[in-house]
Amino acid sequence: MLKQTEGSQAVAEAVGLCRPEVICAYPISPQTHIVEGLGKMVKSGELQRCEFINVESEFAAMSVSIGASAAGARSYTATASQGLLFMAEAVYNASGLGLPIVMTVANRAIGAPINIWNDHSDSLSMRDSGWIQLFAETNQEALDLHILAFRLAEELSLPAMVCMDGFILTHAYERVDMPTQAQVDAYLPAYEPRQVLDPGQPISIGAMVGPEAFMEVRYLAHAKQLQALELIPILATEFQGVFGRNSGGLVHPYRTADAETIVVAMGSVLGTIKDVIDEMRDDGVRIGALGICSFRPSPLAAIRDVLKSAKRVVVLEKSLAVGLGGILSTDVRMALSGLQLHGYTVVAGLGGRSILKSSLHELLRKAGDDALQPISFLDLNWDVVNRVLERERCSRRSGPIAENILRDIGVVAASIA
């Protein structure tokens, strides 16, 4: 059914249609509307046979999910940013124990300085945790990916994150096509755990593993991700059969067939990038985009297949591997091993900085001339940066950066003192 709704509400409804049995809620922006929506559904009786638990921290949210999942319940939670870091130990534990928990990450920056707006630093910090990470481009895809994620997670006995851009998607009102309960039931069978805590058949879960078998256990975690790589396209095709639309999958190529320049990105920024590509195409520039839906497992072959015929690749990412450069671009480089083409990393949109079409036009024109630095920061205010660097060169005790910048910019509140 078509409806105009908020991204978070759409996701809440979609998760509700997946018949979750245990939902843990802990508030953190910009995720909170999702669990609020689900809480209302449980309390009103709209969503039955479901426990909605207000926990005391994100660490507890994931831990309660671990217990519930191990006892055979379909479990869901949502978080973002600091919350994901606070639950990090349990995030690794959930995948190590092979528990198919589904979690929404409403992608948000990590502090300090504290910042509630969107970038991909949070979920990318968990890239080696063993979780599947699927990135949504639109609200429609965000809600679809949740249905797909439960199916994928439970088939592999592996937890999955659905990543959607905080505020940009979670708080945007858009038209979405909400599936029916019958459609979701047809796609997502009841959860049948591989192993379950049951007094009838007692088992021990979470035993200590020493050097004699730890490598094998870790390899098996990797092998599961490789299985996911095969399963994700199959499930996306099945999804299309039931729901009649294309959602999920490993990668989304856009006008790449004859492209000399291909922009690689994840999440909602692909919409802006596609608009820019259309305009550049109108001017005769052979440019395309490659959206990565499955960040983990990393679809190296699919990425390589799309990029191999291009002349250059621009990876535009909302994340920064401090002291190295890009995170996504490091993955893309791995996919391109042995191929000779120009590669550029563009760090953009950190902490919610707008990614403007005008900036992208300038950036991609430069890329076409191969005039970009190997790594660049879109719309970075060099005046501010250089003044701070200069101050720090001159004085060892140069004071707090934020206040100094406020003075430099000359906003009203900074004129005190």
Partner: protein
């Protein structure tokens, strides 16, 4: 026919030998058909109080629930010695997740059972004092506050034993650990620190809180059985000596677990909804020295010049417990 109650005091305590009781009143451990939930063959040290406590408690819970128990276990000695890959000593469904999240994992299991309508299956969370009073405290308080249907059992051996005897917030004053060294002007752990977790549990107004000691088997089993008859968040804090960590003889585990109670240092009591409802009376109090002396962790108190002031401080703490909980029995 009228019956005449007979009391047999064999050890100077109120302990009654099993042989003197009817079959139905005997300890679970006296029954050949007990479940041995934590089976033999595990890797605990000789004389491990925690291994005893865990078997006593879980066996009693198994009998009380017709063997319908699932347990979540914190990281620590109990977890490590019971499940070295690929072996397990547990005869019950058992999960170890992390050090600090056991109460939350158990709450998740309880939620899953509720949603699946398995009201017959009961959930126990268990951990050592570090996993309970320190790193797991947040999750534990959350579980209490939500009144989740979980019995949490803390096996308190008063320090981080698995990592090599470091201080926890359950380490008693003056005790030597690897991080409260027996050197300097105030050797051992500081006075005026630490947490009293049973009382913190009571402050959550949960249905049931109790303390127990592995020396008092029937009392321990009674408390676990009672806890399993109730629903909501319940807490039992069991005193379990650690021969290795305390520098005590393996054969003294039960003796120390008895002396700590008889001295008044560890009061045995029950509380319901925040109110103390019953205490285990001490028949004949013993001075704290009797408890402290056999343990090398307190050896610095009994050198050439005994630390009489420190010992008096510990005796004062014991006396305060005796006063506060009314532990002295009126012996007729």
């Amino acid at each position: 026919m009228d019956t005449q109650p007979i009391k047999f005091y064999q050890t100077g305590t109120f302990t009654v030998g099993n042989r003197l009781l009817g079959e139905d009143q005997r300890a679970v451990q006296a029954n050949m058909q007990r479940t041995n939930s934590l089976n033999s063959g595990h890797r605990a040290c000789q004389g491990c109080g925690e291994a005893l406590g865990a078997r006593y408690a879980i066996d009693a819970a198994m009998r009380a629930t017709n063997n319908q128990v699932i347990a979540a276990n914190a990281t620590g000695c109990l977890e490590v010695f019971s499940t070295p890959y690929p072996e397990t000593s547990w005869q019950i469904p058992w999960i170890h997740s992390l050090f600090g999240n056991t109460a939350a994992v158990a709450a998740g299991i309880a939620a899953a059972l509720k949603v699946k309508g398995r009201s017959d299956v009961r959930v126990i969370a268990q951990g050592g004092d570090g996993g309970t009073t320190d790193i797991g405290f947040g999750c534990l308080s959350g579980m209490f506050e939500r009144n989740d249907d979980v019995l949490y059992i803390c096996y308190d051996n008063e320090a981080y034993m698995n990592t090599g005897v470091q201080r926890s917030s359950a380490t008693p004053p003056a005790a030597r650990t690897a991080t409260t060294m027996a050197v300097g002007e105030h050797p051992g752990n500081a006075f005026g620190q630490g947490k009293n977790l049973p009382q913190i549990a009571m402050a959550h107004n949960i249905p049931y809180v109790a303390t127990a000691s592995v020396a008092y088997l029937r009392d321990l089993e009674y408390k676990v059985t009672k806890a399993m008859s109730l629903h909501g968040a319940r807490y039992i804090h069991i005193f379990v000596p650690c021969p290795l960590g305390w520098g005590a003889a393996s054969e003294d585990t039960i003796k120390l677990a008895r002396l700590v109670v008889e001295s008044g240092l560890f009061p045995l009591f029950e509380a319901e909804h925040g109110e103390v409802t019953r205490v285990y009376k001490i028949r004949k109090p013993v001075p704290v020295e009797e408890y402290l002396k056999p343990q090398r962790r307190f050896a610095h108190l009994f050198g050439k010049a005994p630390a009489t002031k420190t010992i008096a401080q510990l005796q004062a703490a014991a006396d305060r417990n005796i006063r506060r909980f009314g532990l002295l029995a009126e012996v007729i």
